[in-house]
Symmetry: C2
Subunit: 232 residues, 2 copies
């Protein structure tokens, strides 16, 4: 609404003015046949909250969204995708012209090796489904990036912080937001999240349970410090 947009403009400085921000959100779906697929419980809420926050801060925002039923935030350019491969292609096309890339989507890391155009008939007994790796979007962009600030997300169930730090180095990220999806009120589907922002110096900034909209603001506050050195 206009009130929300105005509130956003009044309350925050618009430090992202002139910056192009690329955000991925939601799950991906990896088809076996027309009526069967692999996916994950991502609702897309975190990525959509980040897109809203970035637009409020003055950025030109492109949101690459997996299949979710959320409204496009005002002023945000949205591109809808279904599979991990679609998402990779759309991100890869655009990453070079963007200043900040935030990969909050929960992209499938495996997909069925074969996809059938018609519905598979079931057979008696078990079967083995051959799975292959999808393209690692974060790693590919981490290797190619020049001036971009690259923020990743990690959703883990054990040793989340330690894993997040490893992922950050391995994928050449500038920062990572880690959450333990087994914690109450954290992660997939919820309106709230509990997370830890880890900066370039591997310093941990724990963020208590809060609405994802507020968490998005906190993430940009910490990112501003990383990018501009400004602590306010």
């Amino acid at each position: 609404t206009i009130v929300e947009v105005l509130a956003g403009e009044v309350a925050k400085d618009r430090w992202l003015t002139g910056k192009k921000v690329l955000i991925t959100a939601g799950p991906t779906q990896e088809k076996i046949d027309p009526v069967r697929y692999f996916t994950n419980p991502s609702s897309g809420k975190m990525g959509f909250a980040l897109a809203t926050a970035a637009a409020h801060l003055g950025a030109e925002v492109t949101l690459i969204a997996g299949p979710v039923s959320l409204e496009t935030p005002a002023g945000v350019n949205r591109v809808d995708v279904v599979s991990a491969e679609d998402m990779f292609r759309e991100v890869d096309l655009r990453f070079n012209e963007h200043d900040i890339i935030i990969k909050s989507a929960a992209v499938a890391d495996y997909r069925p090796k074969l996809t059938y155009e018609d519905k598979m008939k079931k057979q008696p007994g078990n079967y083995r489904l051959e799975m292959e790796r999808t393209t690692d979007i974060l790693q590919t962009i981490g290797q190619k990036k020049t001036h971009q600030f690259l923020l990743g997300f990690a959703a883990e169930t054990v040793d989340a912080i330690e894993y997040g730090k490893k992922k950050m180095k391995k994928k050449n990220l500038d920062a990572i937001v880690v959450n333990n999806v087994k914690e109450d009120g954290a992660g997939f589907g919820h309106d709230t999240n509990t997370a830890t922002y880890i900066d370039r110096q591997l310093q941990e900034h724990p963020l208590p349970k809060m609405p994802k909209t507020q968490l998005a603001d906190e993430i940009f506050r910490l990112m501003k410090h990383d990018i501009t050195g400004d602590v306010h």
Copy 2:
């Protein structure tokens, strides 16, 4: 709303008064680990429309719903489930005390043989996922049923009618609603559907493309003929 309820009561005779109707709706989710699962594109709209129509016709309705984001129809008793096994258990518990059972849910026929409590770490290269068959709800109930009228659904992409007739015999159904999910405006996710109702005598009643709410009324009209012999 009250207006809708009244419209339903005025427009139709309440031939299901005193009858107990059990309806399943939506997809099921079959977990690999906390962040990965198999599913299908069922929105649950057809099953929820059938539950609404049955309540309007005077039935006592229980709706066993997979994970969908739809509001419970007025006057309907809803039971939420996630997996095929959950759905089987809830249906099996109740089928005996019901007069009409409509299985419109898109239940997974395979599930991962192993489910992991913590997120699986990805490994380089491909892997094989061992899949096992779930319990065939329709077949199990078809074998056990006594006085119940059992209506199944078939969502196919090739030879839909022929397959529907085979399924009807094999599973001891009283009628089946068949749709070709590759047709425009048919099947999963849409608000409309194109279907064919096949009765006990294997007579085909094609139903042109129409809203799922209207299709639900048509299905009960045809079912009334099958159950009571009344053609109006």
